[in-house]
Amino acid sequence: MLEALAYGAVFALVSGTVLPLLYRSKNARQASFGLSLISSVLLLGFAGTVLYTGKEPSFPAFGFLPGLDFTLAADRLTAGFVLLIAAVLPGVSIYSLEYTEHAKSEARKALQAALTSLFVLAMLLVVLAGNMVGFLIFWEIMSLSSLLLVLHDYSSEENKKAGFFYFVMTNISTTFLFLGFISLYRLTGSAEFGPLEYPAGALTLPFLCLFIGFGVKAGLVPFHKWLPYAHPAAPSNISALMSGVMLKVAIYGFLRFLLAAASPELWWGVLILIAGSLSALFGVIYALKESDIKRLLAYSSIENIGIIFIGIGLYVIFRVEGLETLALMSLAGACFHAFNHALFKSLLFLCAGSVVHATGTRNIEAFGGLVKTMPATSALFLIGSVSIAALPPANGFAGELLLYQAFFQASALSANPLLTVFMVIALSSFALTGALAAALFVKLFGITCLALPRSEESRLAEEVEKPMLFGPAVPAVLCILTGIFSKQILSLAGWDIEFPDLLLLGLLLAFIYAALFLAVRAKTEIPDRISETWGCGFPALTPSTEYSSAGFSEPLVMIFKSIYRTRIVHRPEYFDGQESLFKNGHVEIRLLRFFEEYLYIPPALAIDSLSKRVAKLQNGKLDSYVLYAFLAVLTLIIATGVLV
């Protein structure tokens, strides 16, 4: 029965992939998204049952290659992440019903619908994969289908660059995963995900490889640069899936390894915690400076991935130190935050997609006043912002609360004072991240939706069509529900953790608000009046007097000015050799792209020059090729002579 649900979902997604390719009609595409919706219901049933009963379904193995079977499996960790997919999918599917129709040509519409289903299918199968072979195969399908979706609007130069960047980074990720899995295979002699009962030290190499591999895919600093490139290029519904689900699939992979490792080491935890803290901090700091709405959200994803890794790091540290309760609390925090982030980030990306669709620009400075022109989208956007800013009682708060609780009890590590102090430092950076995220989303929502429209496009924006409202409404409702019922959800999932009842808090807030509102209304004697905003004596307020996005973040930019370093570039050209007759030139002052310029470009250039040298060997002459063959044979003979 349980297995049938999973098969049903897979089948629905497969037909969702094939259908739009066979029939190029709107109906076929609608059917495809409808099938995704159905699959998400099936998956909900599947994951819910596994999580609640703890019953593990058994799938038969498929013979794939001799000796390499290809199995599906599901335990509670898997079920948790399947649930995450099932929670994000409905909103995105409903949204796509309309959103995909805005693509430029019939072919693109069909392709987008088909690839979306394929992408979801691949992510689902990565999570369900029972061994390394299946995992890697579906991982590659997931990467490729998302790459094609990023390249969806391939004609623009910027998108091509984004696609290329994404392609390189995703391959680096896969390479490290292969290395990690191969080293695991050498250790265990099996491709299954079994428990790894090895002494400390034996797992160092697999750990590092997998950490980098999954870190690249999840967008951990310093491997994060592909995110802010890929997201603006991808369609918004795909951004929602990539940010909401694909990054979590990487987290899933990493957790699968960590939970299997019987004796993790302290330095793993410390490393993960440091990487997580840095990602969270840098993510939000870069996001503050950003004025492209989708890129801003991409940076914010880096921040949230950082928070999830902080939770994982805490889990490892507490587990090594033998504090089971706190370890469990941190792990629950990490998983819960992953789930919550999937919800509110997909909500925010879908809303951003609506805003971009209505105004035709991604530049925040051109928005404003959308709360009047697009009231429903703005309300949904506010729910997303409140959740991601971790305000109670929405769900973003629930996850972070678990992590804070774990941090606050770090005094339990009293046996190791330096570790305790390290935790306090991590805690303060975590707190800074949280507060900066709140500032970020005040800026994003305030500048985008409030005050006067800053451009003609924004003034004339119209509310989007129904499916594009109902789509984000699903995660919005879920954001509030999972927040309010967080205690109940945690206990349903079988985690017995000390946690305040947000349901009670939510009810209390609602009650006080209603009472206050009624009391104030009853007391009101004179009706409200509408009058102009005071504009320092100017007769009419114009949008140009409003605070802009750059202005809003200026104090923080000043405070963190050592991080936002600028680079001045000038490349003049002259008519003559003496550099006296100026022809034309290029001058720019821009933010120093630290990671790109110091970490990515140098190895890329080195590889480039190396490949140029290799290319020289390819001179097209038959004689040289024979020479190479001769040299190869010679080397072989000598080598055999020496070795044998």
């Binding site: 004072p417 330096l418 102090v421 430092i425 050592s562």
Partner: protein, 228 residues
């Protein structure tokens, strides 16, 4: 008789204030405030050694407290105050290498470093927690004093940084080393500082090192290793 546990608590609080005073010396811009902070720091040190005397009953500690009070709380600040009045500059606004905010973060790092280092070194000794932490504070105070010496521009602030560093040595001495020995050393160091200060006083310094050198050259006090 006062309860030792209570005294220990008070000493712990004083520790924090000693470190805070060091942090203030790093970040305060007004010269008068830096001097006041130094005076307070020395007073805190005197208080710590007095409290330790109450705990341990060693008369050297009382002597040390008195000596610190006389020299570092009264005499040296008085001298420096006179210099400050003469040179007519009231603020030191320039920092080299480190801005105050960064220095403060670095200071926390220094304290951790001292802790990690000393916990290795003193593994064999059975120091009580309080004494061990006193040593840590002493070492970090010394390091923070050095930080002042290279991050502040004006010579007078550098001198105060040096004095604060010397306070660190004293603190370390109180908590770790045998007392009579350190007592002698300290007196000598104090005398050296006094001599140094009076010589500065004679030259009349009022600005950054570069200008100071010019002034010294002009007055033919010292050639600074370069031909004139």
């Amino acid at each position: 008789m006062i309860e030792p546990l209570f005294l220990e608590g008070v000493i712990k609080i004083l520790f924090v204030f000693v470190l805070i005073s060091a942090a203030l010396i790093i970040s305060t811009r007004s010269l008068a405030s830096v001097l006041t902070t130094y005076t307070v720091q020395s007073f805190l040190l005197a208080a710590v050694s007095f409290l330790l005397y109450l705990m341990e009953g060693k008369s050297e500690l009382l002597l040390l407290a008195g000596l610190t009070l006389a020299s570092k709380v009264l005499l040296i600040p008085h001298f420096i105050k006179r210099i400050e009045e003469k040179i007519k500059i009231s603020r030191d606004l320039n920092f080299t290498y480190l801005e105050p905010t960064t220095s403060l973060l670095l200071s926390i790092g220094l304290i951790l470093l001292s802790y990690a280092f000393l916990s290795r070194v003193f593994e064999a000794f059975a120091l009580s927690k309080l004494f061990f932490f006193g040593a840590v504070i002493g070492l970090s105070l010394t390091l923070m004093g050095m930080l002042v010496m290279f991050s502040r521009r004006k010579v007078i602030t550098k001198a105060l940084g040096y004095l604060s560093m010397e306070n660190g040595v004293l603190m370390f001495g109180i908590f770790v080393t045998e007392l009579p020995f350190i007592l002698e050393i300290l007196i000598i160091i104090d005398l050296i500082i006094l001599v140094l200060l009076t010589s500065i006083l004679a030259v009349g310094l009022d600005s950054s090192i570069e200008e100071y050198r010019k002034k010294i050259r002009r007055l033919q006090v010292w050639n600074g290793g370069e031909a004139l």
